[in-house]
């Protein structure tokens, strides 16, 4: 069912890229298992990339070591929710402790999209998000947790609040964009739909070109943030 993916990872007009992204895919006897993760670090140059990078690394290892065992059992969604929360809490506390030692405030947004077989589940903390594209429609499946520029949920800073959860079925001719606010802040969802909507024939190279063109457009519209995007076409 999974066809192809594309990735945008640009620092834009910033000196350093504080975003971190991870995209992993396994083929199992029960179908494809895909993890797309976007983390947008905050707290200044090195701290931001440290926070987002730590989360991305830890979940990359978690994907290979723990996720397959969860998916081949029963009550998958419940167990997945528990496992992600446990892992995220562990990383949150580590980052908090690191920040206290260095007397710095650091944190990261967290948007984790997992596709297994014909289902998906999405965990969201912060203002990165997931946009679902069908042939005719574009819909954000995660609520953005921010009040203007202030994050209302952030990993590595303050009290731990579990990420918000959304889930559903993946139908064929659907695409998902997991992205940081640098991308969606300047590009409307209709523009994403026009550029990368799941129309036939599915063409990986053309989609990549169009997504890069969108990133250039965002820059021209005075985007001052890092731009990260993972595109998944089913």
């Amino acid at each position: 069912m999974f066809r192809f993916s594309n990735v945008i990872y640009e620092k834009g007009k910033r000196e350093k890229n504080e975003d971190s992204i991870a995209l992993h895919k396994l083929t199992s006897v029960r179908g494809d298992i895909i993890m797309a993760l976007v983390c947008d670090g905050c707290g200044g140059m090195d701290e931001g990339s440290f926070a987002s990078g730590t989360v991305a690394e830890e979940f990359s290892i978690w994907f290979y070591n723990e996720l397959p065992d969860i998916l081949r059992g029963i009550a998958v969604r419940k167990r997945l929710e528990g496992a992600v929360n446990r892992k995220l809490y562990e990383v949150h506390e580590r980052l908090k402790s690191y920040g206290m030692q260095k007397d710095e405030k650091l944190g990261t947004t967290f948007t984790l999209f997992i596709a297994y077989g014909n289902k998906y589940i999405c965990f969201q903390a912060g203002d990165s998000t997931v946009l679902k594209l069908t042939a005719k429609d574009a819909e954000y499946i995660c609520d953005i947790q921010a009040n203007g520029n202030v994050l209302t949920r952030c990993i590595g800073s303050g009290r731990y609040r579990p990420p918000k959860l959304s889930f559903g079925k993946i139908r064929s001719d659907t695409a998902f964009l997991v992205m940081s606010d640098g991308m969606y802040g300047k590009i409307k969802k209709e523009e994403f739909l026009k550029a990368a909507g799941p129309v036939e024939p599915a063409d990986e190279r053309k989609t990549e070109k169009r997504l890069k063109a969108l990133a250039d457009t965002a820059l021209k519209r005075d985007c001052r943030d890092n731009m990260s995007l993972i595109y998944l076409r089913f």
Binding site: S20, H24, K25, L26, T27, S52, G53, A56, R72
Partner: protein
């Protein structure tokens, strides 16, 4: 950075083509690190630093710093405590089962490295470059000969260790991940036999390795790895890993299947005798030699319980195949690793 102010050399660990490796103490924290000092081609040390920085995995030493001191390049990385695979095999002489278990871990690591985007062709697989840590994990050291590539790699010079390197590594400019597969095959032969191919006649003990294998799938796997024609080997370590798991599964399934077969035979025999006795009792045939206890099981109220037990036994026999199949599926759940991307400026 002035290295002499930051680090104190404790002792020399090893010496290789690209440099000398020292155990060094970071003065501020007292923590130990490995310090590789360039003696050979400078590009190899820079290449190694790039690769260590690009790969995030607990089985690869993490990069601390790349510095310049007194006209030499210095690579500072995680110090791996433990023994080399060579020492481990020579001291512990693992049996075939232990060797295959360890080889599975090694192949999983190379499957991960080959399936990255870009993938990594290591080019110098040998037991001296694989460490067994104190907590029985494996770590790969010395990335000096490794190349990152999306498929084939064009290299400026040959690389590898005599006896372990694939034939094309020493001569050709174009190699792919199947070169590592060859070296993994040689490594497995060493682990199974203890015969070191880096000594004359510089060839793996294939016969000894094959004799140590317990099924045909493993024998076929070794021969395929050691094919001199790269196109006849597994294309990368992921292919080898699937074959290895399949071969192990055949072993495991055989034993599980045998157990279920035995249980099924016993139950079938018991069921048959039991059913015959039950029918005889129902038709009131008299068998004068019936032991007294049989009358307890076939008469009166216990007769209904008996029928229930017989029914349950029949279900158990039918379920045995399904359970065996499920166990097989659990062992082979992951078929392949396809995408492995991690971008961060951490």
């Amino acid at each position: 950075m002035d290295i002499s102010d930051e680090y104190e050399i404790v002792e020399k660990i090893s010496e290789g083509g690209e440099g000398e490796v020292f155990l060094a103490r970071y003065i501020r924290t007292g923590r130990m690190f490995a310090m590789k000092v360039q003696t050979g081609d400078i590009r190899n040390l820079k290449n190694e630093a790039k690769i260590l920085g690009a790969i995030n995995d607990r089985r690869i030493p993490y990069l601390i710093d790349f510095a310049h001191y007194e006209d030499k390049d210095i690579l500072i990385m995680e110090y791996v405590k433990g023994m080399t695979l060579k020492q481990y095999v020579e001291e512990n002489k693992p049996d075939a089962e232990g060797a295959f278990k360890l080889f599975l871990k090694i192949t999983e690591l190379f499957s991960f490295l080959h399936s990255g985007s870009p993938g990594m062709i290591y080019r110098d697989i040998k037991p001296e470059n694989i460490m067994i840590t104190d907590d029985s994990d494996i770590k790969l050291v010395d990335m000096g000969a490794a190349v990152m590539s999306y498929g084939d790699a064009f290299v400026e010079s040959g690389a590898g260790s005599r006896g372990y390197a694939a034939p094309e590594c020493m001569n050709e400019k174009r190699i792919d991940a199947s070169a590592d597969v060859y070296s993994l095959g040689v490594l497995l032969c060493f682990m199974l036999t203890g015969n070191d191919p880096s000594k004359p006649p510089f060839a793996p003990d294939v016969e000894g390795a094959i004799a140590a294998c317990t099924n045909e799938a493993k024998r076929h796997m070794i021969k395929k790895c050691l094919s001199t024609d790269p196109s006849k080997r597994y294309s990368d370590a992921s292919g080898l890993l699937s074959a290895l798991k399949d071969a192990e599964n055949k072993e495991y399934r055989k034993s599980v299947a045998e157990i279920f077969e035995d249980i099924r035979t016993f139950l079938s025999a018991f069921l048959s005798v039991d059913a015959v006795m039950f029918i005889l009792e129902q038709t009131e045939s008299r068998v004068s030699l019936l032991p007294e206890y049989l009358s307890v099981f076939y008469k009166g109220n216990t007769g209904k319980t008996h029928i229930l037990i017989l029914a349950l036994l029949m279900i158990l026999i039918l379920m045995s195949d399904a359970v065996s199949e499920h166990i097989g599926e659990r062992r082979n759940f992951i078929i392949s690793r396809d995408i492995n991307i991690l971008f961060t400026e951490k």
